[in-house]
Symmetry: C2
DNA sequence: TTCTAATTGAGAATCAATCGCAATTAGTAG
DNA sequence: CTACTAATTGCGATTGATTCTCAATTAGAA
């Protein structure tokens, strides 16, 4: 009963929009990747499995996935917008290696709690937040040292 | 002795680059704004004071300012890259109102400290981080309530 | 089954950012 | 001070991501 597809259907219906084969394919792909993705990733994956579908449709579908709270945009590190699934995953923040691109996900409840306190202090009503720490992962830091 | 201009001069010299009038103007403008800015902001400000200078030069200067640790890129909220001064300002994070665009700066040392602990745990060597909380500022939250 | 508003793909358009190049210039060496 | 040269500039062209336009198609309500 509670699946990304059901939530997406409900959302679309509520908005008077249609659950098309293209939207279903994009949704399936997004949730089968279990990780960060961008428009081109989805485009390539689709075409690899020779299911052609246009970039325009992909770009038009992403905002719907975000609106229905199935995925969210992540911290933009290059120039392309990047997303990750939300449905079925719990909130976390990111450590991003600027050398190899590795992304480490972490969750720290105390940090989360302190953010709430900050918001209260400023009477700010938070909707979402993004915390990204850029630097060198263990492997890449080691390599740098040895140079 | 310690001024943005001196640091910039030193940086440029070390790299064998030149301290041109254009670079000086951009630097001055950046530090006279006391806040966030993007390429167009600088471009417009310059042309308002009818000091013409090309967009290319602005785009070419920003990375130098970042490299010399005078400014840093901030969390990208729209599609343009956005920056803020670092020299002369202490580190802080942001509350961003998605209704009126207001940006509230805050600093929470405990959050900062916890981030370091997270990095240690993953043996991650942090260089910088960005934390942005999006939501409604007091004013805008109030307006929403009353609707 | 019919009907219609929503959707699609293809390519054009947009927008920020980058690039190529000829003319100019900062700043070092003499 | 002058000469030299690599760095810089502005301009326009280009790129790359994203959005838009529009004619043809289709989901899904009636
Ligand atoms: Mn968090
Ligand atoms: Mn911080
Ligand atoms: Zn790494
Ligand atoms: Zn506001």
């Amino acid at each position: 009963m509670f699946s990304p597809e059901n939530r997406f259907r409900d959302y679309l219906k509520k908005k008077g929009l249609k659950f098309t084969p293209e939207r279903r394919l994009i949704l399936k792909k997004v949730f089968s990747l279990h990780g960060h993705f961008d428009a081109d990733k989805i485009y390539d994956e689709m075409h690899k499995k020779n299911r052609k579908l246009s970039r325009a449709t992909i770009y038009r579908t992403f905002p719907l996935l975000v609106e229905s709270n199935l995925v969210k945009e992540t911290l933009r590190c290059q120039k392309r917008a990047n997303y990750e699934p939300v449905f079925g995953y719990s909130h976390h923040d990111h450590l991003i290696c600027i050398n190899c691109g590795r992304v480490i996900e972490f969750r720290n409840d105390l940090i989360e709690h302190l953010q709430e306190k900050v918001c209260k202090k400023y009477r700010f009503e938070p909707l979402e937040h993004r915390l990204g720490i850029k630097g060198y992962c263990q492997k890449c830091a080691g390599k740098r040292q040895r140079r």
